[in-house]
């Protein structure tokens, strides 16, 4: 029987309690909207301020976060975010600007954005960058819109197929679907690369392009990346790079140099913007020369060159064949761009390269320590992450059981059941910030759990046993979609 460790805010409510006592109104009353627009059954909780504070303080102490322990979800979900980023994004000059201010009064912000565009171009090897997209999937959509605009301007209208590997992120086909294109799935070969034969067979003059994550979601750098790019380009397609795994490549490989035409950056992954709870992200997009004229507008540009004495005048410019605006205003400025700018500036070119090298080293160290205990289906030198199977011969223990048991050892579970091409997948991404002691204790826990799977499988089926709440009923949660603790009057659950 689970104990209730904290009631909901609604259960703590008591009629008449209040956080703030409002003074009597000293302005004339106006009539309320028609009563059809009003509702009476809105049971807002009534509590004193201190009770609200204590309630949420207590709930926040139940969190497990990257600030409280090892978090093998990696940069993909959220790597460690250096605290200096929090200082810079709160500098009053950034914090108190408004997107509608005249450009002459926000030159500092524009200078930062301009430099950010330049830095991302240098990091990726692209000719142009937009900072507008609000997150990764929005960046993908922006990129695919530019690919579509490119083919359309050339009158090449029969291209309607996008090639996507079976290891891809689910957002790739979703972005393609938004444009009404069809998706052709390309299988992976036994080494975790794109299957070249299948790719060659799919390449024809109806191909819009290919969306490829490299390294892919198995953590494998495609060993035939040049052939893949060539096959797609030879049939007139464009190469889209999903930048979700850029954390493995900084200062080592530039997607633009590999022949990619477009790629989104996940500032909230690679460049350390916190994004717990689904946002806010930031998904700038870089493009090669042939797509540069299609970038969203406006971009930040230099309107008047400066010299030794005077700073340049920054302003907004519109590319010739721009697909238009992708977001109101200029992207996630303070939350995303200022933090990432700080992160890049603090590391510099050599530091960025160190990030990727340590991320790759740490993943390979963990893979080497776990190789003899867990089956690794695509077993070769990995990049920043690797995927192993959470199952054992002759045992009914599954990946979910192993993940839940990790919580008893005070570790956050890794990504479960993705990518889909690995049975009982456990995807592990330690990132660059973890020291050897942390990696060792995580590996020790996983090795111990594998032993428990043999000797006491029921312990794993029941895990976690030391947490505030035991095993959640995921099936019930998915089948009975009731999220609120009260139901509006007359609401029939059975419908």
């Amino acid at each position: 029987m689970a104990t209730i460790v904290e009631p909901t805010i609604f259960e703590l409510s008591s009629p008449g309690r209040t956080g703030v006592t409002m003074p009597a109104s000293d302005v004339p009353e106006t009539a309320l909207p028609p009563k059809e627009l009003l509702r009476s059954d809105l049971p807002l909780p009534e509590l004193a301020e201190v009770d609200v504070v204590r309630h949420y303080m207590k709930l926040s102490s139940f969190n497990y976060s990257v600030d409280s322990g090892f978090y093998p979800l990696g940069s993909c979900t959220m790597k460690y975010n250096p605290k200096i980023n929090e200082d810079t994004c709160r500098l009053p000059g950034f914090l108190f600007t408004h997107p509608l201010q005249p450009v002459e009064t926000v030159q500092g912000n524009l200078a930062l954005m301009f430099e950010m565009q330049e830095w991302l171009k240098e990091i990726s090897g692209f000719a142009g960058v937009t900072l507008q997209p609000a997150a990764g999937a929005h960046g993908e959509f922006t990129g695919v819109l530019m690919m579509a605009a490119y083919h359309k301007l050339r009158g090449d209208t029969k291209r309607t197929k996008m090639l996507i590997p079976d290891a891809a992120h689910g957002t790739n086909p979703a972005s393609v679907g938004m444009l009404g294109y069809s998706v052709v799935t390309i299988p992976s070969d036994e080494r975790g690369n794109v299957d070249l034969k299948a790719l060659a067979a799919a390449c024809d003059d109806t191909v819009v392009g290919m969306m490829l994550t490299n390294p892919n979601t198995l953590g494998m750098f495609d060993e035939h990346i040049e052939e893949v790019v060539k096959l797609v380009k030879d049939c007139g397609g464009l190469m889209y790079g999903d930048g979700a795994n850029l954390n493995a490549l900084l200062g080592i490989v530039r997607p633009g140099d590999l022949g990619f035409d477009v790629m989104h950056f996940n500032l909230h992954k690679t460049f350390a913007v916190p994004h717990g709870g689904g946002g806010p992200g930031s998904g700038p997009v870089g493009v090669s020369q042939r797509l540069a004229d299609f970038l969203p507008s406006p971009l930040v540009g230099i309107i008047e060159e400066g010299d030794d004495e005077t700073a340049p005048l920054y302003g907004f410019v519109t590319p010739k064949n721009s697909i238009g605006r992708m977001k109101a205003f200029h992207g996630h400025f303070g939350g995303g761009l200022v933090r990432s700018y700080t992160y890049i500036a603090m590391h510099g070119p050599d530091g960025l390269k160190d990030i990727s090298q340590y991320a790759v080293l740490n993943a390979n160290y963990l893979q080497a320590r776990l190789r003899d205990t867990y089956h690794i289906p695509y077993d070769r030198i990995c990049m920043h992450e690797f995927v192993m199977e959470g199952r054992f011969e002759g045992s009914d223990v599954r990946a979910l059981d192993i993940s839940k048991r990790l919580m008893d050892y005070n570790f956050h579970p890794p990504t479960n059941y993705f990518p889909l091409i690995v049975h009982e997948a456990l995807m592990i991404e330690p990132t660059e910030t973890e020291n050897k002691d942390t990696l060792d204790s995580f590996a020790d826990a996983l090795i111990k759990i594998a032993e428990e799977a043999k000797t006491q499988p029921n312990l794993l089926h029941e895990a976690p046993i030391t947490t505030k709440f035991g095993r959640m009923d995921e099936v019930k949660a998915a089948r009975e979609l009731v999220l609120c603790c009260w139901l509006p009057e007359g609401y029939d659950l059975s419908k």
Binding site: R398, N416, Y417, F418, L420, H423, E474, V475, A478, R479
Partner: protein, 125 residues
């Protein structure tokens, strides 16, 4: 693994019953997906199908998958009860969990039970 010998199978784990025209997903597929929590049949009775056309969308606690038609032909019936009881796929994949029935179905590239079992065994590694 349960693989009835009177049915035909696809590489994407659908089954087709040549006698009744029924289509569903296999026991192997449901065991891989684990607890199924949502099913939506994407086609209506009377609709013409081509081989490989998406006919349903199935979601489990692990993943969501599209289900593709193993045959070409006309949809003669849709199992309307399935969306209210998606767990039927876990308990009775080859029986009550049929998804649609197809009239005069022309089979795509289908396997018999023995070939499908060998195919599943090959994927276990």
């Amino acid at each position: 693994m349960n693989t009835p010998s009177n049915l035909k199978y696809t590489k994407s784990d659908e089954w087709f019953d040549p006698a009744t025209g029924a289509v569903g997903i296999t026991d192997y597929a449901q065991s891989q997906l684990s607890d199924i929590v949502f099913v939506e049949i994407l086609v209506d009775a009377g609709e013409e199908l081509t081989v490989g056309k998406p006919i349903a969308s199935v979601e489990s606690v692990k993943a969501s998958s599209e289900i593709y038609s193993p045959v070409a032909g006309k949809v003669s019936a849709v199992n309307a009860d399935l969306s209210n009881a998606p767990e039927t796929i876990n308990s009775d994949a080859f029986g009550a969990a049929w998804m649609i029935k197809v009239e005069g179905g022309t089979e795509g590239d289908l396997m018999d039970a023995a070939a499908y079992e060998a195919y599943c065994a090959g994927r276990e590694h």
